[in-house]
C-alpha cells in the first residue's frame, strides 16, 4: 500500500509549551530511502519535532503523515477523530526511535530487549524473532552480548543494542534523537559507524544530531532549525555554505573544535 508520495510528510506543524513556541509552522517531507539530518542550537525544537513524529508529543496544529496515513487521527463516519490508543501504538510501531539515553529495559537481557516487541506486537514467532535479533546483533557487532544485561555494557554498546532493538521491528522510518550526545567521546565512533551503515543501505532516516561530520557525510538533505522555524534547508552543502547569518554563527561555533 506504499504510495508514490513521500514516506514522511510534516504539514504546518506548530507546538507550544505554555507561552514558549517550540515549533512554528514546520513543513517538510522525506522520500523513501532518504536521509534527513536536523541540526540547530539547543532549544531550537529539533528534538520536539522528532518526538511529534514519534507521537511522544501531541501537536497543537498541523498534520503528520507516514506513507499516506495521517498519524494520530482516524476517519470516523466522515469526521476526523482522535485515534484510539490501539491505533496510535500500531502507528508508533511503524517508526523506530533511538533515544539519546538509550532507554533499554534494564531488567531484560539484550536478546529479550530485541524480541519483546516483535513477539508481542508483530506476533512474530519466538524462534523467528530470536533469529532476526541475532542477525541484527551481528550487524551492530554485538553477537556475543545477547545474554548480558544492559548495565553490563558500555554506553556505545548500549546505543548499538538500542539501534538493533528499533530495527527488529522492521520500521519504515528510523528516528535518531541525538544518539551520541550521552556518550563518552571515545565511544561515539562505534555508534556513528552503525548509523552510516544504515544510511548507505537505504534505510529512511531522520537524524537529530550535533555531529556535523556525520550530517555532512550521510545526509541527502539537511534542515537547520532555530527558535522553532526552519532557517535553512538543502543538500548537505548547506553545512559548508549556509545562507542565514544565525546558521553561520551556529555552525562556526560547533565546527570550530
Amino acid at each position: 500500500m506504499a504510495s508514490d508520495g513521500p514516506l514522511l510528510r510534516v504539514a504546518n506543524v506548530s507546538k507550544s509549551f505554555g507561552a514558549n513556541i517550540v515549533l512554528d509552522d514546520i513543513s517538510l517531507s522525506v522520500e523513501p530511502g532518504e536521509v534527513l539530518s536536523v541540526i540547530g542550537p539547543s532549544g531550537s525544537g529539533k528534538s520536539t519535532l522528532l518526538r511529534c513524529v514519534a507521537q511522544l508529543e501531541s501537536t497543537d496544529a498541523g498534520l503528520i503523515e507516514l506513507d499516506g496515513e495521517v498519524l494520530g487521527y482516524v476517519l470516523d463516519r466522515g469526521r476526523l477523530a482522535a485515534a484510539p490508543k490501539r491505533v496510535i501504538r500500531a502507528q508508533q510501531a511503524e517508526t523506530g526511535v533511538v533515544f539519546q539515553h538509550f532507554n533499554l529495559f534494564p531488567h531484560r537481557t539484550v536478546l529479550e530487549n530485541l524480541i519483546e516487541a516483535p513477539v508481542r506486537v508483530k506476533r512474530v514467532g519466538r524462534a523467528n524473532a530470536i533469529a532476526l535479533a541475532r542477525e541484527l546483533l551481528d550487524r551492530v557487532g554485538l553477537s556475543d552480548k545477547a545474554d548480558q544485561y544492559p548495565d553490563e555494557l558500555s554506553g556505545g554498546q548500549r546505543q548499538r543494542v538500542a539501534i538493533a532493538r528499533a530495527l527488529a521491528m522492521k520500521p519504515r522510518l528510523l528516528l535518531f534523537d541525538e544518539p551520541t550526545s550521552a556518550l563518552d567521546p571515545e565511544l561515539v565512533g562505534e555508534v556513528l559507524d552503525v548509523i552510516k551503515d544504515l544510511a548507505h543501505t537505504g534505510t529512511t532516516l531522520v537524524v537529530v544530531t550535533h555531529e556535523i561530520n556525520l550530517a555532512r557525510e550521510i545526509s541527502d538533505h539537511v534542515l537547520v532549525l532555530d527558535k522553532g522555524r526552519i532557517v535553512e534547508y538543502g543538500t548537505a552543502s548547506v553545512i559548508d555554505h549556509p545562507q542565514n547569518s544565525r546558521t553561520q554563527e551556529f555552525l562556526s561555533r560547533i565546527t570550530a573544535h
Partner: protein
C-alpha cells in the same frame, strides 16, 4: 631513600616513599590496620549492654519465673496466632487493593483519579484507632443491611451480627493499609524513568503491557523494602485491635494480668513475641531484597551482618537519571 625527606608524624611513624613502600610490600612487612576508635565504641556499647542486661535480669519487678510460665502458654499462643493471621489478611488485602488504587491514581481517567485521591485523603487523615471505633460502632448509623429479593421479599441483617470485633478490626486496618500500600506502589512506579514508558510505546507495546511487564518489575525494587516495612508496621499495628477486645497477642496478655496482676512479666511476654516475629520478618525482607537486586542486575546488599544492617547499596544518581 636519600633524597626523600623523612618526616615524623607521630611518636612511632614517619612518612614513607615509594621505593621503601614497595620493598616492604614485597617483603610482606605490612601491619594490619588498627581500628582503635571502632574498638573503643564496641567496648563502651558492650559495657552499657551488659549493665542493662544485668539490671533487667536482677530486677525483681520483671519476675522472670512468671514470664517463663506464660511465654508458651496456650492462651498467649492463641493470641499470637490471631495476631499473625489478622496481619496476613490485612496485608494481603492492602497490597492487592493498593495495586488497584495506585493504578487508578495513575490512570488517564479524571473520575478514577479523583476517587482514588479522595480515598487516600480520607483514610490517611483518620487515625486507625478512631476508624476502628467507628467501624465497630457502625450499627449506630447503619442499623441493618436490607436485601431486596425479587417478589418483594426482604431479608434484613442486623449490622452487629456481621460486623464483629474481628471484622471491624480487619476492615479498619485494611482500609488504612490500602491507602498506605497504594501510595507506596504509586511512588515506586513514578520512580521509573519516563524514558522506559516512551521506549515501550514507540515499540508499539500497549499501555497495560508496558505497565505490567516493563514498568512494574523495575518499580518492584523500590516498592519491596517499603512494603516489607509496612508489613512489619501492620504486625505491630494489630495490637491496636485490643481496644475492641479482639483476642490478639496483647489482649491475651492483658486478660491474664487482669486476673493475676502480673503486669510487667506479661507485657514482657508480648514484647518478646513481637520482637521475635519482627526479626523473622526483617530477615525475610533482607533475603527478598538480595534476590530482587540480583535478578535486576542492580546493586546488592553485602553478605552477612553488614548487609543486614545497611541494606542494599544506593544506586548511583547518574544511573537513575539516565534510566540505564
Amino acid at each position: 631513600m636519600a633524597t626523600f625527606q623523612t618526616k615524623r608524624i607521630s611518636s612511632r611513624s614517619v612518612k614513607v616513599d615509594v621505593a621503601t613502600a614497595k620493598e616492604l610490600l614485597v617483603a610482606h612487612k605490612v601491619r594490619p590496620n588498627r581500628h582503635l576508635g571502632e574498638l573503643c565504641w564496641a567496648v563502651v556499647a558492650l559495657i552499657l549492654l551488659g549493665l542493662l542486661a544485668f539490671w533487667v535480669a536482677g530486677n525483681p519487678a520483671f519476675e522472670w519465673d512468671v514470664f517463663a510460665e506464660y511465654f508458651g502458654q496456650g492462651r498467649i499462643l492463641e493470641g499470637l496466632w490471631n495476631t499473625l493471621w489478622i496481619t496476613a489478611v490485612v496485608v494481603a488485602i492492602s497490597v492487592v487493593l493498593g495495586l488497584g488504587l495506585a493504578a487508578a491514581r495513575l490512570s488517564r481517567l479524571p473520575v478514577l483519579v479523583a476517587v482514588a485521591w479522595g480515598y487516600v485523603w480520607v483514610f490517611r487523615s483518620v487515625p486507625v484507632l478512631v476508624q476502628l471505633l467507628l467501624w465497630f460502632n457502625i450499627g449506630y448509623f447503619i442499623p441493618a443491611f436490607t436485601l431486596l429479593l425479587p417478589g418483594g421479599l426482604q431479608i434484613a441483617i442486623n449490622t452487629n451480627d456481621i460486623v464483629t470485633a474481628t471484622g471491624a478490626a480487619i476492615l479498619g486496618l485494611s482500609l488504612h493499609g490500602i491507602a498506605l500500600a497504594g501510595e507506596i506502589i504509586r511512588g515506586g512506579i513514578l520512580g521509573v524513568p519516563i524514558g522506559q514508558t516512551e521506549a515501550a510505546h514507540v515499540l508499539g507495546l500497549s499501555d497495560g503491557y508496558t505497565l505490567r511487564r516493563i514498568i512494574f518489575p523495575q518499580a518492584l525494587r523500590s516498592i519491596t523494602p517499603a512494603l516489607a516495612n509496612m508489613f512489619i508496621e501492620q504486625l505491630k499495628g494489630t495490637s491496636i485491635v485490643s481496644v475492641l477486645a479482639v483476642k490478639d497477642l496483647l489482649y491475651s496478655a492483658q486478660e491474664v494480668y487482669a486476673t493475676n496482676y502480673k503486669v510487667v512479666p506479661l507485657l514482657m511476654v508480648a514484647t518478646i513475641w513481637y520482637v521475635i516475629i519482627t526479626s523473622v520478618l526483617s530477615l525475610g525482607q533482607y533475603v527478598l531484597e538480595r534476590r530482587l537486586s540480583r535478578s535486576s542486575g542492580g546493586p546488592t546488599a553485602p553478605r552477612g551482618i553488614r548487609g543486614l544492617l545497611n541494606g542494599p547499596t544506593r544506586v548511583h544518581n547518574e544511573e537513575v537519571r539516565l534510566g540505564i
